[in-house]
């Protein structure tokens, strides 16, 4: 379980997060939704210790992220931020291989090589394994980063907008994979999602944020309602049902 207690965050004099207290359950696929600038990414980066906590307290499975050594946390949670253009010329297999680094610190064993192999396969990258990162498309690079995170094989996965650059089939494939990880392997996933229907179709738990605060949280059918979503995104939204899950209509 991730516990947030009174987390505040400022960048310069701008308040990004105000007094966030929440619990993100273990063994669930949790989606973090909300409009641009709501503070979703900042919150995810704070939990993933990519930013240091200014005020409040964040614990992941009882470990305080501000106190626990980073190398220990790297075996508990894998975090993928939004990728900026990187000039490094690594082969995709080498990049994914670095996902195992927290486990072997430079001396890969058979189990590490097997995990890399599996991750490449799962994300459809085996044929591209020997290509350099700057020789593949944006979506393929994004999948390589995801495969690296996946290869890290941690209890928790924190992903910041992993659907960026992915086409329909890979986006759906990723969500199905994450859902499968939760259900079969007992992992916990926290994912920032922009397109609310991916949350509606796959998430077990939803946290909705606006202007640095949590405005709603709970099961998809409780959070994804006409009124809540219209208020959240400041735009009229209708919610219907499709195969027993909410379907959000917002695009016409």
């Amino acid at each position: 379980m991730i516990e947030l207690d009174g987390v505040c965050h400022d960048i310069g004099s701008t308040r990004i997060l105000s007094d966030i207290s929440a619990e993100i359950p273990r063994g669930h696929l949790t989606a973090l939704i909300g409009p641009n600038g709501a503070g979703k990414s900042t919150l995810l980066r704070l939990i993933g210790r990519l930013e240091s906590v200014q005020r409040g307290r964040i614990e992941i499975d009882g470990l305080d992220v501000a106190q626990t050594p980073s190398a220990t946390l790297a075996r508990r949670m894998a975090v993928l931020g939004q990728q900026t253009a990187i000039s490094s010329r690594l082969r995709l297999s080498e990049l994914v291989g670095f996902g195992r680094w927290p486990h072997h610190h430079g001396r890969p064993r058979d189990i590490d090589r097997a995990a890399v192999e599996t991750a490449l396969q799962v994300f459809g990258l085996s044929p591209l394994a020997d290509r350099f990162l700057d020789e593949v498309s944006g979506g393929q690079a994004q999948r390589a980063y995801l495969a690296m995170t996946f290869a890290q094989d941690t209890d928790w996965l924190l992903l910041d907008e992993p659907l960026n650059n992915l086409d329909m089939s890979h986006a759906r494939g990723l969500m199905a994979r994450l859902s499968d990880l939760v259900r079969r392997a007992g992992k916990s996933v926290l994912v920032v999602v922009h397109e609310v229907n991916y949350a509606a179709a796959w998430a077990d738990h939803i946290v909705a944020m606006k202007q640095g605060r949590i405005v709603a949280e709970g099961a998809p059918r409780d959070v994804l309602k006409d009124g809540t979503l219209s208020m959240l995104y400041d735009t009229p939204v209708a919610v219907t049902q499709h195969e027993g899950r909410p379907l959000v209509l917002h695009h016409y």
Partner: protein, 312 residues
């Protein structure tokens, strides 16, 4: 291929010099032995060590700042090393050589850290601002060095440090510091994975449990130490630490554990080739290797720029 080039270059370097002796007869001819052990071998080793260490330093620097267009000679490292050396020469001229090198290394590290701090504030997409900032910074520090040297009448010193590195003064007993530079580069190789991960961004490094700051500090220390050693013993060599990493990365990629040995070998071979060229062109007189390298290096650099303008 690089290794295949190193052996004949080394042999040619041992055979080339102003004194006409047959080094193959060294075992029976004491004079040839003297020339070989006191002059030819030290010089050849000095060139190899400098070439390898400086190229590795360039690769580390490029990983730390995540930009391909920088080298230890273009971001103020060499000028900062010279500034430290100048200050010691002025205020503690009696300090033993290792003390001078230590001060010079610290100064080089501060200068390079200043560069890194400056470029962290630049917009990440403007990749060309990084090398420009480096050139401006080295210009500023360089002019401080020149001003102080001018006032203190030490211009000749700094010319040998900064303008054109050359190996003609190398004899046994005057180059051994370079082994430390090469050892520092070797030490960096042991942490090659960490630098490769750091090159992917602070976020990725932190996510994998690395402290981006300490990896960066270690890298800066190696770059500074290597630059300070080279500046004090033979003077700065332009372009080497810039182009060799680019060429090797182009062919082998940035998995530093695999690429660094090749960077070291290629750097050693290229510098030795340039040194030989400088020794042979007006034999028995010499053209400083810094001049030859500047000519050859700028040509290669322009070619690299032209071939690949879109990538940082």
């Amino acid at each position: 291929m690089t290794l295949a080039a190193l052996a004949p270059l080394t042999l040619a370097s041992l055979m080339t010099g102003a004194a006409s002796v047959d080094i193959f007869a060294a075992l029976s001819d004491p004079r040839a032995m003297l020339v070989l052990m006191e002059s030819r071998l030290p010089r050849t080793l000095a060139v190899l060590l400098t070439g390898a260490a400086l190229s590795v330093a360039g690769m580390l620097l490029q990983a730390i700042v995540r930009n391909r267009f920088v080298g230890p000679d273009t971001v103020g490292t060499a000028e900062s090393a010279a500034l430290g050396l100048l200050v010691v020469t002025l205020f503690a001229p009696a300090m033993p050589i290792w003390g001078k090198i230590l001060v010079s290394s610290l100064s080089a590290m501060l200068g390079t850290a200043l560069f890194v701090a400056l470029i962290r504030r630049l917009p990440p997409r403007e990749i060309m601002l990084v090398p420009i900032t480096g050139i401006v910074l080295s210009g500023v520090i360089g002019s401080v060095v020149v001003y102080i040297a001018w006032q203190a009448d030490l211009m000749q010193y700094i010319t040998t440090w900064l303008m054109v590195g050359e190996f003609s003064g190398v004899i046994a007993g005057r180059y051994e510091m370079l082994w430390i530079a090469a050892a520092a580069a070797g030490l960096a190789w042991l942490a090659a994975d960490r630098f490769a991960i750091l090159a992917l961004g602070d976020g990725v490094a932190t996510g994998l449990g690395l402290s981006a700051t300490s990896v960066m500090r270690f890298g800066l220390a190696v770059v500074a130490l290597v630059s300070a050693m080279v500046v004090t013993t033979v003077g700065m060599i332009p372009f080497l630490g810039l182009i060799v990493p680019n060429i090797v990365s182009r062919i082998m990629g940035d998995n530093l554990r695999r690429a660094l040995p090749m960077v070291a070998a290629a750097g050693a071979a290229l510098l030795l080739g340039c040194d030989l060229l400088g020794r042979l062109m007006r034999h028995p007189f010499e053209i400083p290797v810094g001049t030859v390298m500047g000519f050859v290096g700028s040509g290669i650099f322009l070619y690299l720029l032209y071939r690949r303008p879109a990538h940082g």
